[in-house]
């Protein structure tokens, strides 16, 4: 089970990031849990200083922009 966390504040870009993550998971057909973290304190404690950000299994993969579905699929398949 892969754990994907999207960090955002609910802006369109953050929502798009979450959609892309879900799409990537669907296309790969893997078991994954996508969660959206809105809490600013939680973000700061994790060292996230830009939005939108994506953390896969505890590792920050992208910060400050919307990743493409293709990119997310690559990150997900590398760690499999």
């Amino acid at each position: 089970m892969v754990k994907i966390e999207v960090f955002g504040v609910g802006c369109p870009k953050c929502k798009k990031t979450e959609e892309n993550c879900k799409q990537a998971v669907k296309e790969l057909g893997i078991k994954a849990e996508v969660t959206h973290v809105y809490d600013q304190m939680e973000m700061l404690k994790r060292g996230i200083t830009d939005n939108p950000s994506v953390v896969i299994d505890g590792k920050l993969v992208v910060s400050g922009r919307v990743p493409e579905v293709q990119e997310i699929k690559k990150w997900l398949s590398v760690r499999k």
Binding site: Q40, L44, K45, G47, D50, P52
Partner: protein
């Protein structure tokens, strides 16, 4: 046949420079490039039509500014490496305040990143002072706000807004960093370090250009709906606001004080404050009160106060909010004394 990405990349830059051309043309020649729809006397229209003629006027008058502003926003989001820029002000020194104020107008176009960057500045070394400087400067003096202030009101007002916000943001950061509760916030976050992305994707110029088009579109989607609704609401103020009420309350010293305060509970969406100020100026608001209004409301916005209160606590939030309103009024008084007109 050029690829889809090449076409999009070229389109991004063509749109940006076309927007710039449309904005610059009347400045050089004195006449607008395309005809502007003029409504004459707004209050003579049927009330249902008022917002539509008002919007039509602004769309024909300011579409070039919209195009240029949104495209520039996209280019900034796609090309400016935020993490690298915040690294420049990550030390405890006077230089950090200055750089935070200088970079804030181009660091975030989208409010998504405001609070994480704010938290990042506190936690990764510079402390609460420069973080607050950034938080106050970004909404009051980002390039979108300054461009529209210049286009709709006057270049002098735009310069006064930028300069005042710059000084105020640094002053407040400095003052709050000296308070006991301000320093307590920093201790709370000692030892946190910024996480770095495992693999930084290198993008070439073409990919970044395509991204700037996507970012511009995201910005339009975020800002435009609220802006249209906001300006439609402003049309009624421009049409029906009694001139004597504005003349009584929004001129002189009382006008400056009220101007600095009323923007806070009013909470206007991005850019709407400029359209509202223009409408109030039409109704007789004094330019000095307008400056206080253009500073107070955006700097002390309630959503960002709520957002950062989780990180820095209400005591610090209220300190910077009170100082913000106070200094916005001081800027208005200085404008009234030394400049006066538009």
């Amino acid at each position: 046949m050029p690829s889809r990405n090449t076409i999009l990349a070229v389109l991004a830059w063509v749109l940006l420079f076309f927007g710039l051309f449309v904005v610059a043309y009347p400045r050089v020649t004195g006449t607008p490039l395309f005809p502007v729809y003029d409504y004459g006397d707004l209050s003579s229209y049927n009330p249902i039509l008022v917002p539509f003629v008002y919007l039509a006027n602004y769309l024909t008058r300011a579409w070039g500014a919209f195009l240029f502003a949104f495209m520039l926003g996209g280019v900034i989001e796609a090309f400016i490496p935020r993490q690298k820029m915040t690294n420049y002000f990550s030390s405890k020194s006077a230089k950090s305040y200055f750089l935070a104020a200088l970079f804030a107008p181009v660091l975030t176009v989208c409010s998504c990143a405001m609070i994480p960057i704010f938290g990042g500045i506190i936690a990764t070394g510079a402390g609460i002072g420069p973080a607050l400087t950034f938080l106050l400067m970004a909404p009051a003096a980002n390039f979108l706000a300054i461009l529209f202030t210049s286009e709709l009101i006057s270049p002098l007002m735009a310069a006064a807004r930028f300069g005042s916000a710059f000084v105020i943001a640094i002053l407040i950061g400095f003052i709050v960093a000296k308070t006991r509760w301000g320093r307590a916030v920093e201790e709370k976050f000692a030892g946190i370090s910024a996480a770095k992305a495992a693999e930084v994707v290198k993008m070439d110029f073409r990919e970044k250009s395509v991204n700037s088009l996507k970012e511009a579109y995201a910005l339009v989607r975020t800002v435009l709906p609220y802006l249209l609704i906001g300006v439609a609401a402003v049309s009624f103020i421009d049409a029906y606001m009694p001139r004597d009420v504005v003349g009584t309350y929004l001129t002189g010293p009382l006008g400056v004080l009220l101007g600095a305060v009323i923007g806070v509970p009013l909470y206007t969406p991005t850019l709407v404050e400029v359209f509202l100020t223009k409408a109030l100026l039409n109704a007789g608001m004094a330019p000095s009160a307008a400056l206080a209004f253009l500073l107070g409301g955006p700097m002390i916005s309630i959503p960002s106060m709520i957002g950062v209160s989780r990180i820095i606590g209400w005591k610090t939030v209220l300190t910077y909010a009170l100082l913000g309103v106070l200094w916005a009024a001081v800027a208005g008084f200085i404008y009234m004394t030394f400049i006066g007109g538009l």
